[in-house]
């Protein structure tokens, strides 16, 4: 029997290690390749539909061209005057890689572009608005204008085609997002999220890199291209565009919106990806939020509020964690005391169960009587424990795209959204990488101590050697490795949680 359990434990441990390897692999897939390949990647568009017949190819590669700047409160965009495309944008509220530098969004293709075979000329230029018009080789007149929203990082794009002749050309715009935020570090997956109007708003989510163009049926509410913290969202105002997601290489993701009318208007958001910022600009629906996501948002709102009061996100996370543990502390204490009483009663309980094996009702009555006699209050149960798990997952999910955590310092941690990186090593360790992160190590130690304490008090050691070894040194190490590349903010939450529970254990003794 013991042997069989051992075998099963080994299999379970094997499964866990496979999970771990998969996780490490997944992580490296997220990793942004720092040095983009030398030559720009051309947008491959082999759509076999009839619309592509009259569709001019996009301005795929960033040219060296004269440009004009449009400026609003939160955004500066550079518009190339030869291609009438938005070549780069500066998010004024977010810092870039260097100190005192604002975040520049720029890649090897324009952020927003339109028909490229048109001889564009500026029609009108104002501080926050520029408009172009020009004729294509077939003589069709095209127009496009960009206008910045005064409050939000939003550009209103109006594109038109004057199809007086035989040409059936319709306006279309191209969006491309390159990984631009070098502060996001390893976990920077590029993805596209297209919200369809039908079926109560279905989200189509595609992760980069794409292998072939993905055509999405008409009726798109919003189409977003995003990296971890920033995104570009195209919202066709009349919902009359067909979206095609385009494969644009390893470090970018692209889309094309083809209108079905001669005039096309879209609101384009270029800014932080987190819900609160998007919501202010009216782009709250752009990314999928499940039930867990909603719980996560409530938690984030709470963290935001504490951070607003205390002025630091690290402090806010510690306070949230302390708060949660202290709220549940009375239950923890009761549970701990009951557990120790039950431990003492175990031989008697085992005897009752053996005696009344065929009569559960009488066994139950005997157990209840025993509990009453020794004043054992029943524990809170397994369900509350199960309910807590999704809350942690929700917090994890919510924090992973919470732009405000980006670049927030706490103690020695320079950025709570990244691993804490105490030292940088001159060489690379397998799985762990070339940085020493202190928080996960502290967490593993706390866990080991916690196990020791609970083992000492419950004496559950069954003489099962595999189990003892796993729960002794191996599990804390495994958890340490698993949490090694997690954002420091999350590990901080967990560490505070473990330390407080340790304190409560001590108090209950």
């Amino acid at each position: 029997m013991n042997n069989a359990t051992d075998k099963r434990l080994l299999i379970a441990a094997l499964l866990s290690s496979i999970m771990l390897v998969w996780y490490a692999k997944e992580l490296s897939r997220w990793q942004a390749s720092k040095q983009a390949s030398g030559k720009p990647v051309e947008i491959v568009d082999n759509r076999p539909t009839q619309t592509s017949l009259n569709q001019p190819a996009a301005a795929t590669i960033l040219k060296n061209e004269p440009n004009v700047s449009l400026t609003s409160k939160s955004l500066v965009v550079h518009v190339g005057t030869e291609t009438a495309s938005i070549t780069s944008a500066i998010l004024r509220d977010f810092k870039g890689t260097k100190k005192d530098e604002q975040l520049l969004i720029k890649g090897q293709a324009p952020l927003l572009a339109t028909a490229s075979n048109v001889a564009w000329e500026i029609q009108e230029q104002l501080p926050a608005r520029v408009s172009f018009s020009g004729a294509d080789p077939g003589g069709t007149i095209h127009t496009i204008s960009y206008e910045l929203d005064p409050e939000h990082p939003v550009i209103v794009v109006r594109a038109g085609v004057n199809s007086s002749g035989s040409s059936a050309a319709k306006p279309s715009i191209y969006g491309t997002w390159y990984r631009s935020d070098s502060l996001s570090g390893r976990q920077n997956q590029l993805e596209a999220d297209v919200l369809q109007i039908e079926n109560g708003g279905k989200h189509i989510i595609v992760r980069a890199p794409l292998r072939s163009p993905k055509i999405i049926s008409r009726g798109t509410d919003m189409a977003a291209l995003s990296e971890r913290y920033f995104c570009l969202i195209v919202d066709p105002v009349a919902n009359n565009a067909a979206i095609t997601l385009l494969p644009t290489g390893q470090d970018s993701i692209g889309l094309r919106a083809d209108a079905d009318t001669d005039q096309f208007q879209a609101r384009v958001y270029i800014g932080p990806r987190d819900y609160f910022n998007r919501n202010q600009a009216g782009f709250d629906k752009a990314f999928k939020i499940g039930v867990l996501g909603k719980i996560g948002l409530v938690l984030l709102l709470f963290v935001k509020w504490i951070a607003h009061v205390t002025g630091n996100y690290g402090v806010a996370i510690v306070i949230l964690s302390l708060g949660v543990t202290c709220l549940t502390a009375p239950f923890t204490m009761i549970g701990f005391r009951s557990m120790r009483k039950l431990q003492a009663l175990k031989p008697t309980l085992d005897k009752i169960m053996a005696d009344h094996k065929d009569d559960p009702k009488r066994a139950n009555a005997a157990v209840m009587a025993l509990y009453k006699e020794h004043k054992v209050s029943p524990l809170s149960g397994c369900l509350p424990l199960f309910v807590q798990m999704p809350v942690f997952i929700a917090l994890f999910q919510a924090i992973s795209h919470f732009t405000e955590l980006r670049g927030q310092p706490f103690l020695w941690i320079s950025d709570l959204s990244l691993p804490d990186r105490l030292f940088h090593l001159p060489y690379t360790m397998p799985v762990l990488g070339s940085e020493i992160n202190l928080l996960p190590v502290l967490m593993a130690i706390t866990m080991a101590v916690q196990t020791k304490m609970s083992q000492a008090s419950t004496a559950t050691s069954t003489g099962n050697s595999t189990a003892n070894m796993m729960s002794g040194p191996i599990m804390p190490i495994m958890f340490g490795v698993m949490f090694y590349h997690f954002p420091a903010g999350l590990v901080l939450y967990w560490l505070t949680n473990s330390l407080t529970s340790l304190a409560w254990y001590r108090l209950a003794k």
Binding site: A12, L349, M368, L385, T451
Partner: protein, 76 residues
Amino acid sequence: MQKNLTPGAFLAVSAIAFYNNILSRFMLHSCRYLPSCSEYADVAVRKYGLVTGGLMALWRILRCNPLNSYGFDPVK
């Protein structure tokens, strides 16, 4: 008791053994019942298979809350 398990049931029983012997040591014991929910799940899956046993275990976990009864509750 030790009858042949289907692969799915075997995996489930392995996972339960992993939880029971290792993971549970990192947590406070919180179950209201005897046998505990994880022991119950183990017995149920062995006796009734992955689907029925799994559903029984799920129902047991749902019942294991402060609003419900406590005490001796073995797999039938």
